[in-house]
């Protein structure tokens, strides 16, 4: 038994030791990084990349606060989440000169409000969140948030929502034409009532299958990201991405350097790698979203610029970033979300 215990310990130590050298641990959205690009990074740098995935900004934050800090090097939060994470002290500061390719960041993304001066993050991809409709199964006007929140009878039970509090609440606020993070009690109550009613028509909450359920025809309307809608359209050409007249959510995902990163130097190498126009263009070609680096046009798939998912029609409402609520409003939002999901 002693022998057994010792050998067990030795083996366990061995398995752990392997994780210490030339490693990089990325906490990333699912289906957001082409395998070929990862391979390229690994061969170019000799760094072994481990990827763990999440399916919403909130889930990522919860997991990091639940003992995940110190085990990941970088994560890829959306705009508002970068601000929240910085406020929580979860992000490390990138000093001047630490990133060779920082100058590649496109001017319009170089100094965003969620990370002034880009001290914690670099741009990854940007896009929008609305919903896609299988126009073979539903022939009415699709460019209205009514399809999610006040659906016609024929769509009842044929709707999938993203399992993401921030995006659902923002889109619902646009639908009701109330400000995000409103602290007005009447508006919050109305928001809750509206969602409670709408919820009776939804089939499921799923982010990671939001494309799959549209392609398989399990649902007719699916809240999703523009890139996912484009990929769904490639598999079933009757799927159309909607740009509601009430407005839609826009976002930018960013690679952030986490505090206590076990492989900080490698994390910076990874960020520099993603600032190379050719590399980040490969992500866009795969994920079908926009990028925030200058000089990448020549590497981009020409279809991308003309894709209907990337070109809102004239009727489209304005795109809105998700706002960060104060603690009191957030508590009400959490309550509304809980009511919605149970």
């Amino acid at each position: 038994m002693k022998l057994l215990t010792t050998s067990a310990m030795a083996l366990a130590l061995l398995a752990n030791a392997a994780a210490a050298d030339g490693e990089l641990v990325v906490y990333h959205w699912f289906e957001y990084m082409p395998a070929e690009l990862l391979e390229k990074f690994e061969t170019e740098t000799g760094i072994d990349v481990t990827i763990d995935t999440y399916d919403s900004n909130e889930a990522m934050l919860a997991s990091l606060k639940a003992g995940g800090m110190g085990t990941y090097d970088v994560a890829v939060p959306g705009d508002y989440m970068v601000a929240i994470m910085a406020g929580e002290g979860l992000l490390d500061t990138i000093a001047d000169g630490e990133l060779t390719n920082k100058g590649n960041i496109a001017p319009e993304w170089a100094d965003p409000s969620f990370d002034p001066g880009r001290t914690h993050s670099i741009p990854y991809q940007w896009g929008s969140t609305a919903f896609a409709v299988d126009t073979a199964a539903y022939t009415g006007d699709i460019n209205t948030t009514d399809l999610l929140f006040n659906p016609p009878a024929e769509l009842s039970g044929k709707i999938n929502m993203l399992d993401s509090q921030g995006e659902v609440m923002a889109l619902a606020s646009l639908h009701m034409d109330i400000p995000q993070c409103s602290s007005d009690r009447g508006q919050l109550q109305a928001l809750n009532d509206m969602l409670q009613e709408a919820q009776t028509h939804w089939a499921s909450f799923n982010s990671d299958t939001s494309r799959e359920v549209l392609v398989s025809g399990d649902v007719t309307v699916g809240m999703t990201y523009d890139g996912f809608a484009a990929k769904a359209r490639a598999e079933r050409d009757t799927i159309k991405y909607a740009f509601p007249t009430q407005g839609y959510v826009v976002w930018m995902d960013n690679v952030v350097l986490l505090k206590d990163a076990p492989n900080r130097a490698n994390a910076l190498i990874f960020m520099d790698f993603l600032l190379e126009p050719e590399n980040i263009a490969a992500v866009s070609n795969y994920a079908r979203y926009g990028l925030g680096v200058s000089g990448a046009t020549e590497f981009l798939d020409p279809d991308l610029a003309t894709a209907p998912e990337a070109n809102p029609p004239a009727t489209a409402g304005k795109g809105a970033f998700i706002e960060v609520c104060d603690q009191e409003t957030q508590a009400v939002y959490d309550q509304i979300w809980t009511n919605l999901k149970n």
């Binding site: 083996l11 366990a12 994780a19 990325v26 699912f30 289906e31 003992g67 110190g70």
Partner: protein, 268 residues
Amino acid sequence: MSANTDVKTYTGFRFMTILCLVILYAPLAVVTVYSFNASSSITVWEGMSLRWYVDVFVGPESAKFKQAAFNSFSIAIIAASLATAIATAAATAIVRGGRYKLRVPSLGLITLPIMVPEIVLAVSTLIFFNSIGFTRGYLTILVAHTAFCIPFAYLPIQARMQGIEDTYEHAAMDLYATKAKAFRRILLPLMMPGIISGFLLAFIVSLDDFIITNFVKGAGIETLPTAIFGSVKQGLKPNIMAISTMLLGLSVVMVTISHFVSKWDNTK
């Protein structure tokens, strides 16, 4: 005895048994059959092929699954070995240790992991590791598996030991041996079938565990179940069916071994 009063046969019970077996095997059979499908769509049948088995070993996801398989098997072997050793010692104390106060509480503690719902065990382990600052990783999975495998290893060992009369050891000790010798030379060999069953049971339980592993695993460390779960979330793919079929085969082999080992009676 007329047919009417033959209480050993009831009309319909045979049918229900067959129905029961059909229900138990149908999903597994379907997945096994479809794992040999040549098509990359899971819905269309395009003829027999080993394509997806090849894909598991050399395909784009092969590195991930190989690492997951290594983690799964190494954890299962180490955890099951430790659990079996601990369980054997505990069974000896409980079955051969006379009557004493700690006996019943010990038994309660040992069977605790199978009485607490798995999700509760998962949550409490996560909270515990977090509050003592044990960083989640390979080691946390290993420790958690060792702990909850103990009752699974224990039960067959206890059952076996209860079936062995202590006259054998007494005879041995009367003749020449010390207690330690009697244990090693007499009791341990006699208990071997129970120990092997216990080990196999613990091994399979560790290999199968998803919920606890999912809670205590560290960044990027996957076992086969968590890797499979990650994949099937985005839709069932043929390569997952191939992996499932291979695991199915492995399970059948292990149960068969366990079945024959438990029937092996070496007390005669």
